[in-house]
Symmetry: C2
Subunit: 190 residues, 2 copies
């Protein structure tokens, strides 16, 4: 997707250790017009999967998931990393390794909002190692729901999250797949 | 705002101790169409304050802030509660008491995205005691930015956050002000 790639080229910053800083337009400051375009593009890519719900993880998955959901007219559920007081005692919980935090984080969903038979489209900001998305897929499975697709804004193809997710056997689409990053250059895979 | 009030009436649940559960449509599962209407309504209320940026706090402020920002065509900055690796060493940081967590939480903004002279419109899901919003106002002040308005989806008028925020001397608007809650009844103030 040209708008997103252009923004990454001009405002993204490679910080080393595989970390791409995009917090000027995706995950600290958000450009709502860019995010709306991304939501529209992701919605188009998954218009035929008959999803009944969008699934994401807090925090930075919320913006792209919400905009995709707006176009598909579907509710979004975002997995929490800490159980709030409003959640029932019995929850769906899994652990997923966080690359940027260097430790396991909890992903928690209330069974009130993800039920057997639902068709979940997973949307997130990044596809890197695929571990967060795999965690969301585990929660869907625990609920008896099916994952019907995976869409992300940015993919680091060199971390090969697609292999980790291949067992899910669903379409995986990203708007800006990056095959190579250095301080001087960001190379897109398509 | 009728749509939001109707949803609170039919799907909101009073859990006691002043806590209203709205996680079926605002802060765990999000209805993007309702949220879009709320964003449109908040944008209308603040169309004349000449804001240059929307300011909110993760996590549940993101959805209403993003939708308001979409209508006003302004960037959103959401204060982080944990400093991510992509943030510079020097940050804007304040502490705010969290009612639902029962402890102080950090609110952190990178000075890259909130600068002197900016006009910040604060948008959040709830106005209760006003402490989170006051924390955001403190961050704006530390950046040399002005707060030009405060808008929320729901207000618990009985917690009197307006008094705590009155020293900011800016318009405060909420779409669903609640004056009284019990297990059997939710009463709106307007």
């Amino acid at each position: 997707m040209k708008d997103l790639k252009d923004r990454i080229r001009t405002q993204g910053k490679y910080l080393g250790k595989g970390i791409l800083k995009v917090d000027g337009f995706i995950n600290h400051q958000v450009d709502p017009i860019l995010m709306k375009s991304c939501g529209s593009a992701l919605a188009s890519k998954f218009s035929d999967v008959a999803a009944t719900k969008i699934l994401t993880a807090e925090i930075s998955g919320i913006a792209p998931a919400l905009m995709t959901a707006m176009y598909l007219n579907l509710p979004v559920v975002y997995a929490r990393k800490h159980k709030p007081v409003t959640m029932p005692d019995e929850v769906l919980l899994t652990l997923a390794p966080s690359h940027t935090k260097g430790r396991l984080v909890e992903l928690i969903i209330s069974p009130e909002y993800l039920q057997a038979g639902e068709k979940a489209l997973i949307i997130d900001d990044f596809l890197a190692s695929g571990q967060t998305i795999l965690g969301l897929a585990n929660l869907a499975e625990a609920a008896g729901a099916d994952v019907v697709g995976i869409g992300t804004l940015i993919e680091k193809t060199f971390e090969d999250g697609r292999s980790a997710l291949s067992k899910l056997n669903v379409p995986i689409k990203s708007l800006a797949p990056i095959s190579e990053m250095s301080e001087s250059n960001i190379v897109f895979a398509d």
